[in-house]
């Protein structure tokens, strides 16, 4: 049981606090409610590039990193389709340094052309390193626009194209900051060894002075229902053929989220998952196979991908995958198998809570979805998922007509 207190400042900043006296550290997480789904289709990758710029310093504190390091801290950040999330840990006695640093850069960042140019190059190198210069690295760059036609989830957080990053101007950066970075568009979470009363006092002192900003809600087009199967085939210089499939699912706060999550666990949760057992271990069609659902605020997808063994025909491998999924539609899993995936969830949840940083990140995200209590109550929602709910959800969501398929073929002679 994770007990926490919530306090909202006058400027709209939500503050969540969870005391954990077993550690000498404290963690601070700041979630900004802005991700790649808030971007203009002509300027994708902006939220992520902006994350890099947030470390460029301010007029008051030109050297964020150095100041945090002097207090024994460590930090990082990530950007996804929905959020930009900054986090740090430091010895608990220096927690006020975290307030000082984070409130300062929420207040105003020092934008310089030089820093923008450098961070653009850094992000372009990141783009190459992670997506273009890795075997299969661009698979999601191909899958997203296949599954999504109009919703911004059709591009990844890194951006649709390198040219978008290249073309960002300083004016755009400034505008982005003032429309998205604001106390009333952020969630601050503290976990670790501190007193809640003290934390509230510091939150008021440091963040209370920042004025509310005019955050314009982004008007995002809803993705129309997919009624016909889509497919794409590419051939590239990779060692083996790979299969990718995506089905439309539900938002993170949707009712069927837990059932769908358990379905992907039944399919691919570890080596006892059905796909691994049948298609890797028994039939030896794939060298690896995985499936998961995205945890997106807007309706997400269930994604399946596998790499084929030598001389396996991709179409027959795909049929074998579909057969495993169809079994879920036809026959409910045994109580024992259901119990297995529920237990696995429960235990991974307990493990996640062994880290103050995880607790801080998760509390922030649950607050964004509207219900921070989920950090404690989700276990029950998984527990309540029944065998028949699995069958029903499998039928409803794993519909061939709402599926997008990518054949990622190897151009090499198979060795």
């Amino acid at each position: 049981m994770i007990s926490y207190k919530k306090y909202t400042l006058d400027n709209g900043l939500r503050v969540l606090m969870h005391e954990d006296r077993s550690t000498t550290l404290a963690a601070m997480n700041i979630l900004y409610n802005v991700g790649s789904r808030d971007e203009d289709p002509g300027s994708t990758g902006m939220a992520h590039l902006f994350e890099h710029l947030m470390f460029g310093g301010t007029a008051q504190i030109p050297d964020y990193d150095k100041q945090l390091l002097l207090a024994g801290g460590e930090n990082n950040a990530f950007t996804n389709t929905d959020i930009t999330n900054y986090y740090l840990t430091l010895p608990a006695e220096n927690i006020e340094t975290a307030f000082w640093l984070e409130s300062d850069r929420m207040n105003l960042i020092d934008f310089s052309q030089r820093n923008l140019d450098i961070q653009k190059s850094v992000v372009i190198e990141e783009y190459k390193q992670r997506y273009l210069n890795q075997p299969y690295g661009d698979a999601m760059l191909l899958m997203r626009p296949l599954a999504y036609r109009i919703h911004p989830y059709r591009w990844p957080a890194i951006g649709m194209d390198i040219s978008h990053i290249h073309d960002v101007t300083l004016d755009k950066v400034r505008e982005f900051f003032f429309t998205h970075y604001a106390p009333n568009n952020a969630i601050l979470t503290l976990t670790g060894n501190f007193r809640t009363r003290e934390a509230v006092r510091m939150a008021k002192k440091w963040f209370g002075r920042i004025e509310r900003r005019n955050v314009k809600p982004v008007d995002r087009p809803a993705e129309p229902e997919q009624t016909e199967a889509r497919s794409l085939e590419v051939e590239k210089d990779v060692p083996a053929d790979a299969l990718y499939k995506a089905w439309h699912t539900v938002p993170r706060a949707g009712n069927d989220f837990y059932t769908l999550d358990l379905i992907t666990d039944l399919l691919a949760g570890g080596e006892s998952g059905r796909l691994y057992n049948k298609l890797v271990r028994q039939k030896k069609l794939f060298s690896e196979i995985n499936a998961y659902i995205t945890s997106d605020i807007d309706p997400g997808i269930a994604l399946l991908h596998g790499r084929l063994m030598k001389d396996v025909d991709i179409r027959s491998a795909e049929e074998a995958v579909l057969k495993v999924i169809d079994e879920l539609k036809e026959k409910p899993p045994s109580s024992h198998e259901m119990e297995k995936v529920r237990n696995k969830y429960e235990s991974s949840n307990v493990f996640a809570n062994t880290s103050i940083l995880n607790k801080a990140v998760n509390l922030s995200f649950f607050e964004l979805t509207g219900n921070p209590d989920l950090i404690n109550t989700e276990v029950d929602l998984y527990r309540k998922t029944s065998r028949s709910m699995v069958t029903e959800a499998a039928r409803k969501y794993f519909d061939p007509a709402s599926c997008s398929t990518l054949y990622y073929r190897s151009s090499r002679d198979q060795k």
Partner: protein, 424 residues
Amino acid sequence: MNGTPMIKPPVRPVTPGRIPEAVALKLDNGIPVFLIEAGTEDVIRIDFTFDAGQAWENRPLTASAVNRMLTEGSQNFSSSKLNRTLDFHGAFYNLYCDRDRAGILVFFLSKHVEKILELAREILFLPVFPEREFKAQMKKRLRWFLVNRDKVANIAMDQFYESVFGKEHPYGKQVVQEDFKNLSRDCLADFHVRHYTPGRLAVVISGRIHKDTVPLLNRFFGALRPQAADVTRSGYELKASEIKRVHIEKKGALQTAIRIGSPAINKLHPDYPGLKIVDVILGGYFNSRLMKNIREEKGLTYGIHSIITSALLSGFKVISTEVSKKNTPKATDEICREIELLRRVAVEKDELEVVRNYMLGEMVRMFDGPFALAESFRSVWDFGLDNSYYYRLVRKIKTIEPDEITALATTYYNIDDMYQITAG
């Protein structure tokens, strides 16, 4: 917000506290067990670690193949039953095979301790290496290998180890595709009999340790005979290559992976704590000189890091980065320039202060929580050291002066002795 700047809050000096000592005991047959009680959740992490890493194999892939096959079937459990049972109990496991040691890490809810220990005995001491599973496993691993060999980072790293340690050295030999055909299940079973013995095992347990843990360990492991293993070890004389620069061309690569480094002392050497500090200044943290110069000033890369690694037979230090192909010479020159600077110019007080505080903060994190504690325990115990190593390191971090840093850099960072490997 009004214009008056807020006053910077005072910073307390970062002081890693006393490190909780592991409770050491022995099972009935002498297997050493270390207990580290910590944490808020009822979870346990057990590390069963054997003297059975890659350095002990005479044929490439043997040690890792044995390790991977441990969960592929035992006397009383098929592979799928083993995995089903572990999953049913919500356990996570991680088979590992490093340069020196190999074993399994298991994470589970404390209440399942009996079941997990029963399964651990099956996995570690009663595997049967079924022929069919073995063949499938090797085919599958060959596929993984081919994908990994397609990444410039791996191509450069493998060549780096070969150049630095020599083709015949256990840390230096590269795996090639043929190696996947040259193994048999018998050779795995043989390696297992010799190396996965009670005499070569240590058990490190951390978390909220269930009260029955030790009696249960004795029940499942305490009666196993510690047979004297007849172990022969391949030669491990370090024969570094004469050729200091190697480039491996990869057609169509957008980036080049750069690896620059050399063999180094390990934790047993008295200079190691000081050298660790030199390494951090150069490239061991986010604000390091290499990061500042090559990423934050020139925008040449997404990341550049330097790391010094301690292994039993030798340590090594390596600088790693990936840059656009055309920028390779520029990045390499800048790396060499930073090394020269470290040798010639004394570190400024201000910079040293940042490094001291960063490293002390790291040391607080290294001992925070049951899992971090267990890892930190292993990383000294493996070398026959104890927590006094960490206290020495803390003292060195607090007291090292700029001239000592220059002296260490001059002794250990000589650009002419360093290997420069590129792939891309």
